[in-house]
C-alpha cells in the first residue's frame, strides 16, 4: 500500500522539481518510477536520434536559403560522445568541399546536431527572422551549413574554410529530463581552429517552453550587428549585452 506524504505542491508553490512524489515504504511509488523512466528515455532518444539532413534541407530551401552538408571526423555516435575533439574537426571531404567555394561571407550559419538533433526543429523559426540581415542590412550570407556529429567548435573550422567574418552555430544542447529539445546559439568573430569559449557569445535554452525562438532571434540580431560593429565576440561583448558568460568548465554540446 502506498503511504502518501503530504504534497507541498498542494500549498500552491510552484517548482518544476519532483517533490511530493509520495512513497511506498522507503521507495518511490510505481507511477513516479515510470514517469522518471519515460523522461529519461526521451532524453536518451534525443541524444541518439540521427539528424534527418534531408528534412532540414527541405525546410531551409522553403525559407529561401541555399544549403551545404558537412560531417565531422566522428564516424558514429559512440565516437562522437567519447571524443569531443573529433566532433570539432571537419572530415577531409567536407573540408575540401568548403575550401573550394571561396565565398568570404559576412556570416556563416551552421545548423549542428550536437547532443539533440530534435532541437533543430526550432531552428527554422530562428532563421526566418535572421533573413533580415540579408534583405534589410545587405549582409552577404554563406549557404547554411548542415553539420552532422558536430560540436560547437566545428563552426570555427567551417567559418575559416569559408573565409567568413563570423560564424553562428545553432546546435542541439545536452538534453535535460524535461527539455530534450533545447537549442543553443553560439556566435564567434573571425572563426578559426583553436578559438576558446571565452571568445564566443551564447544564447541558450531556445525552445517554446524556454526562450521562444522569436525572442532568441531578436537577441541574436542585436548581437550579430553589435559584433560586426565592434569587430569582436566573447567577454568584451558580453559585458555590454548583459548576456551570460561561458565559464571555463561549462560543458558545451
Amino acid at each position: 500500500m502506498t503511504e502518501e506524504v503530504t504534497r507541498p505542491q498542494s500549498h500552491g508553490i510552484v517548482t518544476p522539481a519532483r517533490i511530493g512524489l509520495g512513497r511506498t515504504g522507503a521507495s518511490l511509488p510505481t507511477r513516479a518510477v515510470l514517469d522518471f523512466a519515460l523522461d529519461h528515455a526521451r532524453a536518451r532518444d534525443a541524444v541518439h536520434r540521427p539528424l534527418d539532413v534531408g528534412q532540414v534541407e527541405g525546410q531551409l530551401l522553403g525559407l529561401g536559403f541555399s544549403t551545404l552538408r558537412v560531417t565531422s571526423q566522428a564516424a558514429d555516435r559512440q565516437a562522437y560522445l567519447a571524443r569531443p575533439d573529433l566532433g570539432a574537426r571537419l572530415s577531409a571531404s567536407s573540408r575540401d568541399g568548403l575550401s573550394s567555394l571561396g565565398v568570404a561571407p559576412d556570416l556563416a550559419i551552421v545548423l549542428a546536431d550536437g547532443l539533440s538533433s530534435q532541437a533543430l526543429d526550432h531552428a527554422p523559426y530562428v532563421l526566418q527572422d535572421l533573413k533580415a540581415l540579408q534583405a534589410d542590412h545587405g549582409w552577404h550570407l554563406a549557404p547554411v551549413v548542415i553539420a552532422s556529429q558536430a560540436r560547437v567548435a566545428l563552426g570555427d573550422e567551417i567559418g575559416a574554410c569559408l573565409g567568413a567574418s563570423m560564424v553562428l552555430v545553432l546546435i542541439g544542447e545536452r538534453p535535460g529530463m524535461s527539455s530534450p529539445d533545447s537549442l543553443g546559439a553560439y556566435l564567434t568573430w573571425q572563426p578559426k581552429i583553436g578559438r576558446t569559449n571565452a571568445e564566443r557569445n551564447c544564447v541558450s535554452n531556445i525552445r517554446p517552453q524556454g526562450l521562444p525562438p522569436e525572442a532568441a532571434a531578436r537577441t541574436l540580431l542585436w548581437l550579430l550587428q553589435e559584433a560586426r560593429r565592434q569587430e569582436r565576440t566573447g567577454i568584451g561583448l558580453k559585458d555590454l549585452s548583459g548576456l551570460k558568460t561561458i565559464g571555463p568548465f561549462t560543458a558545451l554540446p
Binding site: 503530504t6 508553490i13 517533490i19 521507495s27
Partner: protein, 450 residues
C-alpha cells in the same frame, strides 16, 4: 627482486589505470588490455618511496606537488616505507590492519601512493579497505560514524526562486534528508540573491532547531563577500582539482583557500570546532582545462584530495558522473571511479561523500546508480545527495533522491547522523524504527509553505 620500470612513473600510472574515456581522450591510456595489466604488474613492483623521489608533476612548477611533498609525514609513513605498491595492497587488506592503523598511517600516504594502490585493487578491494576506515567530521551534526549514512539535501531551482527552493527543502526534510548539509547550487552569482538564500536556509535551520548546516555552493570569493556582509555562512564551498593550473582555471589557489577558510572560522558558527569547508571534486576536471600534465585523471583526482586535506574539511564530495561520457563513458566506468574516489579519499583521511550521478548523454541510467549507491553504502560512504526525485532541474543531471538514501538506510540498517536522528524523532517525522511517518498538512514544517 623488483623490476625497475624503464618508462617514467606517470606513464606507468596512466597505462595501469582501468580503462576510461578521459584517459583515452588525453592520449595516455593503455593501447591494449594486455598492456594495461602488464603495467599494473610493473606498478605493483614499484617501491612506495619512488613516489616521494619522482614527482609526477614537477615540484618547481606546481604548488599542489609542493603541498603534497612538503607536508608528507615521514614518521607516519615509516610502517609502510619499505613496501612496494603490491605489498601495500596486501597490507591494507590484511587482518592486522584496522581503522586505527589506517588513521595513523594516513598522513604518511601521498595522493599518488593512494592512486597507485587503487589501480591494482579490484572493486571489492576498494570496498573492503574503505569500509575499515571511518572519518568522522562535526559541525552541528556528526557525520561519518559507523552505522550511519547522511545526505546532502540539494534543493536546486533553475531561477533560484526562494519559495521553490524552500518547497524542495521541506520535501527533503520530511523524508529524512539533509543531515550532512542543506546545500543549494545557485544559478546566479548575484550577491544579493546568494545572500537571501543563505538567510532563508539559516532561518529555517534556526526556527526549527535543525541540527544541520547550510551551504550556498558559489565561488569562494563570493562566499568571502557574503561573510564580509555579515551573512550567516556555515560552510564555505569550492570546487578544487589536483594541479595548480586546474585550480587556476577554477579561480583559486592555496593561499586564497586559506584566506577564506580563516574568514569563515572567524564567524565561529561551527560549535564543534574548525571544520568549515565543503569541497567538490571529480575525475576529468584538469583535462577539461588542459591542465593535466599528461597524468591520468584518477591520479589527478587523488591529488585534489591532497589539496582538500590541507584545509580540514567537514565534507568532501566527488561528483563522479557529472562531467560527461568523454571522461567516464558508461555505468561501468562511473561505478569504478566512484569506488576509487571514495577509497582514495578515505585512505588520505577525508570525510568522503559521493554524488552518485550521470548525465543524459552518458551510457548510464538509474540501475547503474542503484549499484554504485549500494556499493558505496556498504563501503561506509559518509554521505550521498538527496535531490527531489533524482532530477536536478537546475544542473540538468540525475543524482540520488531522498528515497534513494532511505533505501540504502533501510537495506543496510544505517541511520542518519545521531543529532539529526534525534531531531527527526522529536519533531514527529519518524516512528520508533526511524521510518518516515505520513505527515499531515498541519505539521509545523509544512506550515512555512502556506
Amino acid at each position: 627482486m623488483r623490476r625497475r620500470s624503464t618508462s617514467d612513473l606517470k606513464t606507468l600510472m596512466a597505462r595501469a589505470t582501468p580503462l576510461r574515456s578521459g584517459d583515452q581522450l588525453a592520449g595516455v591510456a593503455a593501447n591494449s588490455a594486455e598492456e594495461s595489466i602488464s603495467a599494473r604488474m610493473a606498478l605493483a613492483d614499484q617501491p612506495l618511496t619512488r613516489f616521494l623521489n619522482e614527482p609526477l608533476i614537477p615540484y618547481e612548477s606546481d604548488e599542489v606537488t609542493r603541498l603534497i611533498l612538503d607536508t608528507h609525514d615521514r614518521a607516519a609513513f615509516a610502517p609502510i616505507s619499505a613496501m612496494s605498491v603490491g605489498a601495500f595492497r596486501d597490507w591494507l587488506l590484511s587482518d592486522e590492519v584496522d581503522g586505527a592503523v589506517l588513521k595513523a598511517v594516513a598522513p604518511g600516504v601521498t595522493p599518488e601512493m593512494a592512486a597507485a594502490v587503487s589501480k591494482i585493487m579490484r572493486n571489492q578491494d576498494l570496498i573492503l579497505a574503505a569500509s575499515k576506515i571511518r572519518v568522522v567530521s562535526q559541525f552541528r551534526s556528526t557525520v561519518g560514524l559507523r552505522g550511519r549514512l547522511s545526505s546532502r539535501l540539494q534543493p536546486n531551482h533553475p531561477t533560484d526562486d526562494p519559495s521553490g527552493i524552500l518547497a524542495a527543502m521541506i520535501d527533503g526534510l520530511l523524508l529524512g534528508s539533509g543531515d550532512a548539509v542543506i546545500g543549494v547550487n545557485p544559478a546566479s552569482d548575484n550577491l544579493q540573491v546568494l545572500g537571501e538564500l543563505v538567510e532563508m536556509m539559516s532561518g529555517i535551520i534556526d526556527r526549527f532547531e535543525i541540527p544541520t548546516q547550510s551551504c550556498v555552493l558559489t565561488h569562494i570569493t563570493s562566499s568571502l563577500a557574503l561573510i564580509e556582509q555579515g551573512r550567516p555562512v556555515d560552510l564555505v564551498f569550492q570546487s578544487i582539482a589536483g594541479t595548480e593550473a586546474a585550480n587556476a582555471a577554477f579561480g583559486v589557489n592555496l593561499d586564497l583557500l586559506a584566506e577564506v577558510r580563516s574568514a569563515a572560522l572567524d564567524l565561529g558558527r561551527n560549535p564543534n570546532g574548525g571544520q568549515v569547508m565543503y569541497f567538490e571534486t571529480g575525475q576529468g576536471t584538469p583535462l577539461s582545462s588542459a591542465a593535466h600534465h599528461g597524468v591520468d585523471q584518477q591520479t589527478l583526482e587523488a591529488r585534489a584530495y591532497g589539496v582538500a586535506r590541507a584545509f580540514d574539511p567537514f565534507l568532501v564530495n566527488t561528483v563522479v558522473g557529472f562531467i560527461g561520457p568523454e571522461y567516464l563513458f558508461d555505468g561501468k566506468q562511473i561505478i569504478r571511479a566512484g569506488l576509487e574516489d571514495h577509497f582514495c579519499g578515505k585512505l588520505l583521511g577525508l570525510p568522503m561523500g559521493c554524488d552518485v550521478c550521470y548525465t543524459n548523454h552518458a551510457e548510464a541510467d538509474q540501475d547503474d546508480m542503484d549499484v554504485l549507491l549500494t556499493l558505496l553504502a556498504t563501503a561506509g560512504v559518509n554521505f550521498v545527495m538527496g535531490v527531489p526525485g533524482s532530477d536536478d532541474i537546475m544542473l540538468n543531471y540525475q543524482s540520488t533522491s531522498f528515497h534513494d538514501a532511505l533505501y540504502a538506510r533501510r537495506l543496510l540498517d544505517l541511520r542518519p547522523a545521531p543529532e539529526f536522528e534525534a531531531w527527526l524523532a522529536r519533531t514527529g517525522l519518524v516512528d520508533g524504527r526511524g521510518h518516515p511517518l505520513v505527515t499531515g498538512g498541519n505539521h509545523p514544517l509544512l506550515q512555512v509553505l502556506s
